[in-house]
Symmetry: C3
Subunit: 266 residues, 3 copies
């Protein structure tokens, strides 16, 4: 993977294949938050790896030592001025989740740090998430006047209605990695990065040599009953798109960006 | 909230609004168990607060330092002589759960003590239950010849089939507050009353100032797929209504009331 | 229960009725794994006890001090040469699970040791599983080129999608009894055999004297929404049947049998 200066400034999504395993890595300087362009790239890379007959398993990871994924890009959220733009932006997350859902390969998520909003959605939509201590989770949407509508179905499917409600309602509260493991968001929680890497290496290697036909059938079984999500997540994107241009949401987003600008200036 | 002597003897349901938060409180001298009249009042107050545009969040609580809710009133259960009466009584619980389900506000339950039968249903039908140590739970229905049929859908939706089955089958066994928290019935379990009150205060205050539109959409998402419950819970009330007039149930209820009368006489 | 020498060599399924409780016991010398003949016998005994009006509760147990159930018989799996034979073999598990599902009595599983593959399915399809420390679980299907397709619906229904995915994907990894209890596969996990036996005795005795009508209704409620499983599990048996005759599966099964033969020879 070659990373250029431009990538470090604007973020990137890159894929690398090695021994039947494709690793998809994303990075964004604002805490691995995701602008529309990167969401489109992520969906594209997942579809591409899904179609590659020499690939049996996908590892989804992000770069750096900070957050795994900060969710939606606040800069882009704040720039949205119409419901249609809002719907389009949130459809970016819908497309990534639908790509993960329809991908005939098993997807392992490598969760090296915090997950917020859409980042929780990525962890939930993976078939098997392996995390390390410190990987806290939060669905902060309600605190900026919106809600976890697009990622909701993926999160609820994985951790159940109760845990999904808890995250959605108590939107300012971080739940720690052990909570996420107990609720089933993370399949494993490791004490160290090394231990997490070893486990990912072991499992991805085992799956790379497992029966391709069996994995295709397993994937279908896991996602049975979500056939309507292309439409459902689009409807959800419209709800978030409408809310994000409300006065309350505009106000909350402005406060966050102002605070960030002030912090930078100091 | 003004409470009269009559209320203390016969039980009451009262509402109070303060800063966009409506608190609904119920009380009954028999361990906060619920006769038909109070069930009707509870449903009414929930519908009323749901229609109040100045309310954003509802706190459901009971009075006293004993049980949060003892479930169905044993006196009324024992007085039922026909299936039709039975169905009507259990429809009272169905109406409360359906009112909570359709209410467009978020409902926080304040669980200060034990929950039995219908009381577990109230905790489950709330969107977010905050409890304190000592809040044990039990679905004792089978031990009196009936079953948790009306509250079943609400309980299973919140804690899953396995935990719901455990409670239903092992009907004489109390599960402690930590069990209820781990299974998702309680979102939070606090070591002290003070800590529970602080958390309710903090969360209700935050929600009172959150986006009304976002909360309405969240509530819809949480209860998606329960649109048939008006009918389902009525059918369930008919099942309980039929069982409660069986010889086995009559016998079990008589034993409980006799034991209570004897304890009072001593 | 009279057990003959032939039974010890070829395995057996036997039933015994005592005080409204039918105990169904199975045994097979290869770690209580299940050949087609025993699966048919198991289904038959469950249906028989379900139709017995003097029975209120069924205890499902296996003999010995080793595994509770090793899943499908490897000897039979290895002998399958056509998809049709494969589908027929796996339909044996489908029939047992469907018999448990449709049985109008509550089924308590006594899990005294490890559960593998189909053995996890039996524990999941019971209404209430009581286990002892050491009862580890594994869905090893993917490691022999197949998948937990027939038992999948029963396992997912009981422990949720996340835990089911974890077991299915990480197919070589044992999860301990505490994991199984936390995920809801086991209702209880006891430190000693004595404590497990006491609990089974207590609960089965209580249920034997509970309302038959209430239990019939409870059982219906627990299994609501599975009415299509006769067809679903047959479709799943066809998937496993197709995979088990693949080259990859044949190769994996041969390796296991060779290792077993070698171990025996030493």
């Amino acid at each position: 993977m070659i990373i250029e200066v431009k990538d470090v400034q604007e973020g990137y999504v890159k894929s690398e294949k090695h021994n039947h395993v494709t690793t998809i890595e994303f990075f964004h300087p604002q805490g691995n938050s995701l602008p529309g362009k990167m969401l489109a790239d992520l969906a594209h890379e997942i579809v591409y790896a899904g179609n590659d007959k020499t690939v049996n398993v996908i590892i989804l990871r992000s770069a750096g030592t900070g957050a795994f994924c900060g969710g939606a890009s606040f800069d882009e959220l704040a720039a949205i001025t119409t419901e249609a733009q809002g719907k389009q932006f949130f459809s970016g997350f819908a497309n990534v989740i639908n790509a993960m859902r329809k991908c005939p390969k098993l997807i392992i998520a490598r969760i090296h740090g915090k997950c917020v909003g859409g980042g929780v959605g990525l962890a939930a939509a993976a078939d098997y998430a392996i995390a390390v201590e410190g990987a806290e989770v939060k669905l902060s949407e309600l605190s900026v006047g919106i809600g976890p509508f697009v990622v909701g179905p993926a999160v609820e499917r994985k951790i159940g209605l109760s845990a999904f409600s808890q995250l959605s309602i108590d939107a300012t509260h971080w739940r720690n990695g052990d909570w996420a493991r107990r609720k089933g968001l993370f399949a494993e929680l490791h004490p160290t990065l090394e231990s997490m890497e070893e486990s990912i290496e072991r499992l991805s290697n085992t799956l790379a040599h497992s029966s391709v036909e069996a994995i295709v059938e397993l994937k279908k079984v896991f996602w049975k009953g979500t056939e309507h999500w292309d439409q459902l997540l689009t409807e959800r994107a419209a709800i978030s798109g409408k809310l994000v241009v409300s006065e309350q949401s505009k106000h909350a987003l402005k406060k966050i960006l102002d605070a960030r600008a002030k912090a930078k200036a100091v």
